[in-house]
Assembly symmetry: C2
Homo-oligomer: 470 residues x 2
């Protein structure tokens, strides 16, 4: 019998909570298609809620197609979709909503940060000092691009770590890259066609879609985004992550980078959005200059975020605008206030200026390298070794695990889900039903693992994959 907790659901209605819990388990594969749900009466009794609560939850699930009712038999989980659901949708419904997060033994589908690793004491000290010493500045409206001190600190960081030569006025600070994408749409124009990577993060396409702008999926091959497809798509703006493509891990080679700049220069009004998140944590491969730093014609808008390099819940990202866009930005979007609180802007500025950010990155690289090495070593020594292949490319905090198996991706995901392991398949990062998507290839985000747990996790993973695949 399914068991869900109704403690701590606040003012959410019981039926909605139950609906969310069941939906989440269907989406994540815990409840595979065909599973019979408990009868309303016994489920209600078991959960300690009224029959009407279960009835309403089932009705909602049925209306949305998650379950179907067979007369005189009961409710069954539907085949949710012809293909596996995109991993963002799964991820969101498991972690972002008000549903208590399911405790996985291991979650390879999201990039988590171990709370132990956040520099709480330093952050706390800097925050305290800021609050003590900067009363006036803390309450003065930040310029729309962010406070000067933070933008100057970012300039120095970009100079030291990415060899970029930019000025503070080019930096625009905002509460997350999602927010900055929205600003860029307003700046570059809703009449432009945006190209997004396929495979890639679904969220980027979702944001363009939600803003009613035209976007096209363009294939990312072994050497980055396909220029021919980009031209064919009629794109004006290419939204890419040349330094670290997710999930393939591919780093766009320098030759292709010049081709991309060439594409941007062939027509007036073309731009490249260079999304450089996670670049701090590449553990393998040689550093390659950013597109921004080799762009002599001001076609590249560079983006990065502290939500990946510091903490996902500190919402500070930034972009570097080409100089010629600054005046347009000011004239058209001057009325927007900066979305990040001064308190955190000043604290982060100190954190960077005083060298803590650099230390933090170095420490985290060592930390992540240790996890990766242990995980790979455990896989190599496990029975999995004989039927899987690890492909790392120059990826950031994940690698790809390709498994020889007769099972479908969905079956593997469900097996893993039942064992308490949350996996995501490469195919889930492709738009629609792509035939290009490699089968049996799983994205292993390892950043949230604890080293000590790895042997046990690999054992579990191994047994739930091998159990039925041999």
């Amino acid at each position: 019998m399914l068991t869900y907790s109704f403690a701590d659901i606040g003012s959410e209605s019981l039926y909605h909570h139950l609906y969310q819990c069941v939906k989440s388990d269907i989406l994540s594969g815990i409840l595979p298609a065909g599973t019979k749900l408990p009868s309303k009466r016994s489920f209600a009794k078991n959960l300690g809620v009224s029959n009407i609560t279960v009835e309403n939850a089932y009705a909602q699930l049925r209306a949305e197609g998650y379950v179907c009712s067979v007369p005189k038999k009961g409710f069954y989980v539907s085949e949710v979709s012809g293909h596996i659901l995109p991993v963002d949708a799964v991820s969101q419904s498991c972690t972002r909503q008000d549903v208590p997060r399911r405790e996985y033994v291991a979650d390879f589908a999201t990039n988590c940060v171990d709370p132990e690793e956040f520099p709480f004491s330093v952050w706390s000290k800097l925050l305290r000092e800021t609050l003590l010493n900067s009363h006036q500045e803390l309450l003065e409206m930040s310029p729309w691009g962010g406070i000067r001190k933070l933008r100057r600190a970012i300039v120095s960081h970009l100079k030291a770590f990415r060899g970029m030569d930019v000025s503070a006025e080019q930096i625009i600070v905002g509460a997350g890259t999602e927010y900055l994408y929205g600003l860029l749409i307003q700046l570059l124009g809703r009449d432009k066609v945006y190209a997004v990577e396929n495979p890639g993060y679904h969220k980027i396409a979702q944001i363009y879609e939600s803003n009613d702008v035209a976007f096209r999926f363009v294939a990312v091959g072994k050497a980055g985004m396909d220029i021919g497809e980009l031209e064919e798509a009629g794109a004006d703006v290419a939204h890419i992550s040349p330094s670290h493509h997710f999930p393939t891990g591919i780093v766009t080679p320098i030759g292709k980078r010049y081709e991309l700049l060439g594409w941007a220069n062939r027509e007036e009004g073309r731009y490249i959005i260079e999304d450089d998140y996670d670049s701090e944590f590449r553990l393998a491969g040689k550093p390659i200059p950013t597109l921004q730093s080799i762009d002599r014609t001001e076609r590249v808008i560079y983006m990065n975020t502290f939500t990946k390099s510091l903490a996902p819940t500190i919402r500070i990202s930034y972009m570097v605008l080409p100089r010629h866009l600054l005046q347009e930005f000011e004239e058209r979007l001057f009325f927007y206030s900066c979305t990040v609180s001064n308190f955190e802007q000043y604290t982060l500025a100190r954190f960077i200026e005083d060298g803590y950010f650099e230390k933090h990155i170095n420490r985290m690289r060592t930390h992540y390298r240790r996890i990766r090495d242990e995980l790979m070593e455990c896989i190599r020594r496990s029975p999995l070794a004989s039927c899987c292949r690890i492909s790392e490319e120059d990826a950031g905090l994940h690698f790809l695990l390709c498994i020889e198996t007769s099972l479908s991706d969905q079956e593997l995901l469900q097996n893993a889900g039942r064992a308490g392991i949350r996996l995501s398949a490469m195919a889930q990062y492709y738009a629609g039903l792509s035939e290009d998507a490699p089968a049996h290839t799983f994205v292993i985000n390892y950043s949230g693992l604890a080293v000590g747990e790895i042997p046990h996790i690999v054992e579990l993973l191994s047994s739930c994959i091998l159990e039925t695949s041999l």
Copy 2:
């Protein structure tokens, strides 16, 4: 000779800084139309910069129409516009950009907060405790609507202060109301027609314009927004501030509130955005229930912000969605992360829960009442009394000063500007060249004044108004 400081301009170019300074002084009336600017050579010498810096700044100002060049004579400040510039534009160019803020003796054009009044020690204590005790929660992704604890605290606050009966799941927390407006456009639809108040804050119309959605200015009369005009405009969504209209100070009476709800119910898909900022600080008038609380048909989206009630640089606002919109919001916008950092969400939740927010509001009401009383008393005792009329209505932190004078609004603004007093005229809050705009009526935002300075400020104000108006 004009003098500007070039210290602390960071990496901004010299010419751009100079351009900004001069532009700002032109917009604020410090440099009125017809003023001759210094010659390039002498200005450069005086400022200690190169001739080319001044030349570039003048060229930019000329290209944008702020100055004109008369052959063999030099550069003169242009008549910037047929009418006075909207105050938002002035305000922005004076405070939001990277130009060091000009020190006014008194700034009546913006609602400032005296840094002395922010509860730094309590905030600091709560922040420290949060950082010490909540490591895990601080790094766990916030649900897209904001963390539960904060949303529950907001629910209790709304219950206690506004008599509203809502649930935590209806609350959506975001980094400022501007950001939330953008989300609402995505939720309600870009094909809708939005009605905005005239007069009103220009920023609201600017946001709709920047998002390429249709909007209409609808007159706000003595009793709130005109329903006939609203119908005529073909509006689907009315964006209003019924509890405290800026700048008129009018509170929409209860009868008109029901008419507005009636309007919203006459057609499918109509909504009212009820912007309730500053409602905590109404010093006069009886409390009137929010539109949201008398809405039985889920047509009202309520909005409020802590940027007004706590500090302008803490970017936390929220909206209350009608229940039937929750599912749509979740389905269509689930992929957006909450834009406010967990650190501040948890701290604010404690601040409200532990009663500090209530205390803060009470203290600030007393503080503002003292300023208002002193300011009104000083005006009454000054020579101004014989030629001006104060109209307060039930305004929040401002009142209207109507002056009998033969001078134009622009002349009055410039006189005041030269005396170091920043004023804004009612006419500046009207869209376009409105004939409805009352002349010689000035908006007196008093929240940023210090009580002790008020006699001197009134003396100054009085002399610069009377100097030429008698």
